[in-house]
Symmetry: C2
Subunit: 388 residues, 2 copies
């Protein structure tokens, strides 16, 4: 009816960094010329700095799932045992991958909204001493719950197994001390906290992982990380790179470096805290109250209401695109994202919109109450030292 | 400290329509080829439709001031009498133009924040029966006050004078019935409700104005509207056009047509109403309470505070760029814009930010109170028919 700017507020794709978007226009360069060979090593170096590891970080031209597949196909042989923590739709993807590649998967499940306790991983590794890997999500995007990455990593580190982390929505929203904690493989995606469109994925590989790679017999070609590393060392990519996204990534990495990765994480954590505070003030329930991630907050729809009505309300009334639940959670929850290029102004608006949507559905709401909860979080964080 | 998206929330330049911005990338066409000659007549036709006139609407490659100058140089001769309503910095610009072109200016001034009453125009025209024009601002951007365009036009229509309207921030924020009310010259600018960057201005010209143009002897070349019209009738522009902005304008006009000009105006009016309601709820005073425009709301800084501190607070804490006062109003007022590509989500955030800035300055604020006032305006407008 009136102006409704379309705002992409989902946990991936996330809002685009304008300067990264504009940089994509410079794509008329050839990837086997000096133009690209000047650009690519800098991008890889910045990516390593943002990951915060001394190990390798490689880029695949794929969605995140491609890099998850690379994390299996490069480090295992048929019949190898892998321990999988499955606490949501993305945990189930590890299970699908293990099945597709004929691994022996020891699956530790947690109900949607909960996570797998580190003690269960410890026990599984004790019972399966030949396990070659432990795979899990740092942040399970489908439920808004976060695993205790450090604890799982420290348990895994003492064994021969690789610690394989789907950090696609974990990077930039939680501390991940890759080298200190011993995270052997950490997967990221361009359309998450990296603030650019989908199409690139990232994989860090530790020394321990490279050692296991040497004996890994699963078939691979496009996602052969050894080949990718050899080319990366020469400043190139193994296959034709997505040049427009590499240009965008160069800009977004510069931005993240200037902001500081710790500040990017704190930003997501504050927005998540504000969101939890706001929805609770509005009488709504969190879907993952005990181990909430800071990448996305999953909120239960009010009793008797399909969460799709709230998602639709956001789109139809305000042009705001937020996420419904996935799989069996569809209709039960809606999800407000915090990862990447989100700021408090986004959140003030989202919560004001949520209040209006609840009101329009006949749910009693005190206008401004949720917004005030977010404002309190902002004031605490931003004004405390300078406040009157 | 954290992510602060830069948001341009000034009364021009205004927020850019993304699809118009993206269209600028197609600028590699030549303006004397079919590529452009297919584009330009459609843009002129759409511009006429959006202006809502059967008369001519021409484009100048200039800022709005260039088109104001064209409104003088094309329709007057040295020594001609012009009545000017001056109620702010832009009223003073009419006076400067009249002086530069050696017209006999009868200047009716109103204090900043007020406007010139139509009766004073009537009297001035009675006292100056040879007057060839009445020039004024539809919306005086510097003060946030709006003239009664219809009343002034109806008075002017009965005389030989042209009704010359600076509608640079009036177009798209208030009803302007160009043909019905007899607005002879109506000036607009690209970076206002047209949602694209600065660089183009627009002038509508009535039959009465063309008749006066025939005898107007002031010197002109670049801004010769007769020449511009001749070329426009052939589908071209007189001089080299700003092709990137014409491409952007083509998109923004399509968007405005799809939204409806009446809805664009209503959008600005609702946002202005919400803003007035919010700042009043927060105990602040309006600068133009009696004749507020819907293009921009000027708000007095709290007693004893420089409004620049509020403007700085918006920028430093939130990345939001809002306008200070101009000239002697600098430090006294700050201005929140509504014209063009603004929506309620913008306003929810701006008001939440204002509350936090006031709080940070030690002014007692109930968080969410101003936002709630905006939400009430939204709910009234959007939910009334469908609400429970």
């Amino acid at each position: 009816m009136h102006i409704r700017k379309q705002r992409l507020l989902t946990p991936g794709p996330t809002p685009l960094l304008p300067r990264a978007l504009h940089a994509m226009m410079a794509s008329d360069i050839h990837h086997r010329t000096q133009d690209f060979i000047k650009l690519y090593p800098q991008v890889l170096a910045d990516l390593k700095e943002v990951y915060g590891t001394q190990g390798d970080v490689l880029i695949t031209v794929s969605s995140g799932t491609g890099a998850l597949e690379a994390s299996i196909s490069n480090f295992f042989s048929e019949g190898d045992t892998i321990v999988i923590c499955s606490a949501g739709k993305f945990g189930e993807r590890w299970v699908d991958l293990a099945k597709a590649y004929r691994l022996n998967a020891v699956v530790l499940t947690a109900p949607y909204g909960a996570v797998v306790a580190p003690e269960r991983v410890e026990q599984a590794l004790r019972e399966n001493p030949a396990a070659k890997g432990v795979a899990f999500q740092a942040s399970e995007t489908s439920t808004g719950a976060a695993h205790d990455v450090q604890a799982i990593a420290e348990i895994t580190k003492k064994t021969g197994a690789l610690c394989i982390v789907d950090a696609i929505t974990g990077l930039g929203t939680m501390k991940l001390d890759i080298d200190g904690w011993g995270l052997d493989i950490v997967v990221g995606g361009s359309q998450k906290a990296f603030m650019i469109p989908p199409g690139l994925a990232f994989v860090s590989v530790s020394e321990k992982a490279w050692a296991q790679n040497a004996g890994a017999k699963l078939p691979r070609l496009y996602f052969d990380l050894k080949r990718e590393k050899k080319m990366a060392d020469k400043g190139e990519s193994a296959w034709t790179p997505n040049v427009s996204l590499i240009l965008a990534l160069a800009e977004s990495l510069k931005y993240i470096k200037s902001l500081g990765m710790d500040k990017l994480i704190e930003n997501a954590q504050l927005l998540a805290l504000g969101t939890r505070s706001a929805v609770t003030a509005l009488g709504l329930e969190l879907f993952a109250p005990h181990s909430p991630s800071s990448s996305v907050t999953a909120v239960k729809a009010p009793q008797g209401m399909d969460s799709g009505e709230i998602v639709k309300g956001f789109r139809n009334h305000f042009g705001s695109i937020i996420a419904n639940g996935q799989g069996t959670m569809k209709g039960q929850i809606f999800r407000i994202a915090h990862l990447g290029y989100f700021d408090f102004a986004d959140l003030f608006a989202v919560i004001a919109e949520l209040e209006l949507i609840l009101h329009s559905k006949g749910i009693p709401v005190e206008f401004g109450k949720g917004v005030a909860a977010v404002q309190k979080v902002y004031a605490e964080a931003a004004f405390k030292p300078a406040s009157v």
